[in-house]
Each structure stands twice: as C-alpha cells, then as structure tokens.
C-alpha cells in the first residue's frame, strides 16, 4: 500500500467517523434532552433573554464573585 492509497483509506474512515460522531451527537441531544448537569438544553436560550448584569445566570460559575 503506497502513501496515496493509505491516505485515501484514512480519509474515508475519517469521514465515516465524523458522520457517525455527528449523528450520535444528534441522537444524544434529542434522547437525553438535558446535559450532564441536569439542565434542559432549551433553558440555555435564557442566557440571551435574561442578560442583564444582575440577572440570575442559568448556571453560575461555582465561586460566584461579589458584585
């Protein structure tokens, strides 16, 4: 197997890997609905809707700074 053939196989399997990865991600998102920390993905929209500096964060950083 010369380098070109090797590269072609490598390219093919990379594409397959990425396609499987992307579809697994889609399946994961819609099946679980919530991320690992228990927040429904759809709640993240609130980061834009409630974005005043004193709005409550959807998920605050653990050591919240003093204002």
């Amino acid at each position: 197997m010369d380098l070109n053939e090797f590269a072609a196989y490598g390219y093919f399997f990379l594409v397959v890997f990425l396609v499987v990865g992307l579809y697994s991600y889609i399946y994961h998102l819609y099946k679980n609905r919530k991320d690992a920390t228990g927040v429904d993905y759809e709640h993240y929209s609130n980061m834009a809707l409630h974005d005043d500096i004193d709005s409550t964060p959807v998920k605050p950083v653990s050591h919240e700074k003093e204002n």
Binding site: L18, I26, L29, L49
Partner: protein, 497 residues
C-alpha cells in the same frame, strides 16, 4: 468614590460601531463606483488621465472587497462581540482594566492596519491573491490584531459569571479559530528581496513584494480553501453568532430549538472546510478533489438551513412583530437571504451547472445576495438593536428605518436579478458554437449584450448605498438625540416615529 451599580461597559463596542459605519460607506461607495465603471468604462478616467492609475477598476476592486469584508463586516463582528460577549457571559469589561486596555489597543491597531491597507492597495502593492492582497508587513499587523481579539474573548470567558457558553459564543470562538488558521496558512509568503535568481544574483527583488510559499495548483488549492472559508468564517459563522443573540433578544422569543443550534454548529464546522474545491472545478486540481468540493457544497445545505429555519421558527406565533418592527424585518429577511444564498451556492457548485456559471456574473450575484441580504442586513439590525442600549437614547426614527429597509431590499433584488440574467447569458454565449466547433460569439459580443444589466446592477448597488446613508444618519441622530431612555428595554428597542 461613588458606589455605582455595576454596568456593562460599551466603550470598545462603540468604537467598532463607528468603524463599521464608516468603512461600510467607504467600501460600498467604491463598490457602486466600480459597478458603474463596468457599465460605463469612461468612468475609469473620469478624474483625469493622471489619476486613472488609481481610479481604474482593477486598482479599486480589491479596495471594495477588502473594505466591505475586513472593514465593514469585521468591524461589525468586533462591535457585536464587545456587546454580546459581556451580556451573555454576564460580566462587564469595567471589571477588568486589562481587558479594557487590550480592547482599546486592538481597536487602534486595527485602525492603523486599515489605513495601511488603504494606502498600500491604492499604491498598487498587492500579493495578487484574492481577499488576501495585503503584503506581508500588514499581514503581521493583522495577526497581532487578531491575537488581541483572542485575548479579549478568552479573557472575558475567564472572568465570566455564567458558566455555560451561549451558542453565539461558540460561533465567535469558531470565527476566531477559523480565521486564524486560514489567514496564517494562506499568507505564507516570502519577500522577493530574499530570493536569488537562477543566475545567482541576489537582492534584486523588493521588500514590499512577496511571493506565495506554494506554487501552481497547490497555491490555487490553498487560496480557495482560504477564499471559500473566508466566506464561512467572516460572512457566515459570526453572522450566525449575531442572529442567535439579536433576534431572540429583540423579539423576546426563545430560540425555537437550542438543540438544533448546537448540532447545526457542529454540522457547519464539519462540512464547510471541505467545500472550497468548488472554486476550482474544471481546473488542474485532481478530479476527486473537485468532486469532493461539489458534494460537500451540496451537503452544506443541511447545517445552513438548520440555522436559518431555527431563526424563522423562533418567530413562530409572533409574525405580527415582523409587520410591526422594521428591526425584526431586517433580521427575518437576513435569515431568508441566508437560506436563499445557501441554496443557490450548492446549485452553482454542481459540476454541470458550474460549467455555465463559472467565471460569470451569476457568481457575483450570488456573493451579493449573501453579503447584502444576509451579512449587511444582520449587521445593520445588530447596530440598530445596540444603539439605544449603548447610547441610552431612543432610536431616532422608525419610519426612516422602514424606508431604508424597503430601499435596500429593492436594491438587492435589482442586484441579483440583473446578475442572474447577465451571468446565464454570458455563460451560454461563451459556450455557443456551430456544428464545426467554432465559437459563435467573441468576448466583445457578450460585453455589448450585458450593458443594460450592468447598469441595473449599478443602480441596485446605489439604492443599497443610499439606504446605508439613511442608516448612518439614523444612528448619528440617535447618538446625539436628547430622548434619553431611563431603563433599558428587555426586548423591543425603543423607536421614535
């Protein structure tokens, strides 16, 4: 010291809003002028034979493209980043003297870079690579500006209160990383001063003239990997970042599906980088690579429409807002034009269609319904949404905004319809031949036939520019008006009649 409540600090955002508008006017005005030069070639020397070197189409064309892409659009990206970034991360730039300094430094270096670009391109210094015309010292300056922007992005993320990164932040980060990678690789170049001739002479070149480190077909491949992904990471990714923030915020509607926004993001990142080969169909590039460029371009419809449909569905049940607010109109039409140009692009990338479309004005039309309709409208809408919040004034005039919307929409329609007809006419005429294979037309025949469409295109561009002046006036009057807004509106921006 007075103990004031913490507020977002829009100093740097305001600076970039200013360059967005100024460079928008400059870039679009040059565009309109060169559009009319194509229709009426006498304009090439309208300022006198002596100045013709500086006012001819070929000298001005890169000034137009670079001013609208790296001036207007990139300023718009920076302006919105310094606004949206703070808000969705819930941290103010006033909290970090360092980030404030970096932001201002980035702005002033950017202004110096722009000045150097304008002067050097006018003087005729160019690397001759499309959208990468800047000579190497300017490239280095641009890299510094970009790194400073990266410091701002990751610095702000480092001091955030909101742990999760909103989808717009993902897109801004992708813009930063994508452009950094593309720009570095495509601008690898050597000043000819360092070259040695075959006869062994050295120091015969010029410090301000460089050649690409790649040669021939490889150079073309790297160039169009760059060129098409400049469309991806300057005209698409950051504009999606904007619409994912500004449309939900202005309309008060949550994104239709946040999950769809996430998977469209990864889909776009996965597919876009492979599509550049469609610029080199029927060239000396290996055939498989051309086919790959075609196929990935067609697949690109999926993630693009994923974002665009997500935006349109965000307005579900709220369509009265589109009728009522010219600001929402800009954004809804922007996402519609995004759908339109991301369908048109893949069609043009199909080999058999490309055989007609390649090198014709249809391509120019395609670029402009994307940039005028999608990029331009979204940046305009973003600045309209930001203006009352950064200046703490009511938007000066809703009716002027509506007038601008309709004038510019008409301009875009004239632009792309004339270029469709011109492009397909051109493509068909170039291919036409008799039974012996002799070409039916000479090049000048096509030039004659296309004249009315070129005049129409110039008119379309002029209407868009006129609308842009209305925009600049409206923002200026908002900035200087005395109609202060006490409390910031949660959603719909306050507008005067």
């Amino acid at each position: 010291m007075e103990n004031r409540p913490l507020e977002y600090d829009y100093t740097v955002a305001k600076m970039f809003m200013l360059t967005t508008i100024i460079l928008g006017i400059v870039g679009m005005a040059i565009g309109v002028f060169i559009a009319f030069e194509l229709a009426f070639p006498g304009l090439n020397t309208v300022f006198g034979e002596g100045l013709a070197e500086y006012t001819n189409f070929s000298r001005l064309r890169p000034l137009h493209t670079d001013a609208v892409a790296f001036g207007f659009t990139v300023s718009g990206i920076f302006a919105t980043w310094f606004y949206v970034g703070q808000r969705v991360l819930k941290v103010s730039m006033a909290e970090s003297k360092f980030l404030m300094f970096i932001g201002k430094l980035q702005f002033w270096l950017y202004v110096i870079g722009v000045a150097a670009v304008v002067v050097s391109l006018f003087m005729g210094y160019t690397t001759s690579k499309e959208y990468a015309e800047f000579e190497w010292p300017i490239d280095i300056a641009i890299v510094v500006v970009w790194v400073l922007w990266g410091v701002s992005i990751f610095g702000l993320i480092g001091i955030r209160r909101e742990k999760s990164l909103y989808i717009s932040i993902w897109y801004y980060i992708a813009t930063f990383l994508g452009v950094a990678m593309l720009y570095l690789f495509n601008n690898m170049e050597v000043p000819t001063m360092l070259a040695t001739s075959p006869a062994g002479e050295s120091a015969i070149g010029d410090w301000m003239h460089s050649v690409s480190m790649y040669a021939g077909t490889n150079d073309a491949l790297v160039q169009w990997w760059y060129g098409h992904n400049a469309v991806a990471f300057v005209f698409t990714v950051p504009i999606i970042a904007m619409i994912y923030y500004f449309l939900p915020k202005e309309s008060g509607q949550a994104i239709y599906s946040y999950k769809l926004s996430l998977l469209s993001f990864w889909g776009l990142m996965f597919v876009y980088l492979w599509a550049g080969g469609h610029h080199l169909l029927f060239s000396t590039v290996p055939d498989w690579m051309q086919t790959m460029g075609s196929i990935f371009s067609v697949i690109l419809i999926l993630p693009s429409w994923g974002s665009a449909i997500n935006m349109l569905l965000t307005m579900k049940g709220e369509w009265q807002q589109v009728a009522a607010s010219p600001l929402i109109k800009f954004m809804v039409l922007a996402s519609t034009f995004y759908m339109f140009s991301t369908l048109e692009g893949p069609i043009q990338a199909i080999k058999s269609v490309n055989a007609i479309a390649h090198f014709t004005d249809w391509i120019v039309g395609h670029v402009h319904d994307g940039t005028l309709g999608w990029v331009g409208f979204m940046i305009i809408a973003a600045l309209y949404h930001m203006a009352p919040r950064v200046f703490k004034r009511e938007l000066y005039s809703k009716s002027l905004m509506a007038a601008q919307f309709w004038i510019q929409t008409l301009g875009i329609v004239l632009y792309f319809t004339s270029m469709w007809i011109a492009g397909i006419t051109q493509g068909m005429m170039w291919r036409a031949h008799d039974e012996f294979g002799n070409l039916a037309y000479s090049f000048i025949d096509t030039v004659d036939v296309l004249h009315p469409y070129y005049a129409l295109r110039g008119t379309g561009g002029l209407l868009y520019l006129a609308g842009f002046f209305i925009f600049a006036y409206n923002i200026y009057k908002t900035w200087t008006s005395n109609k202060e807004v006490d409390a910031e509106r949660l959603n719909a921006s306050p507008m005067g009649a």
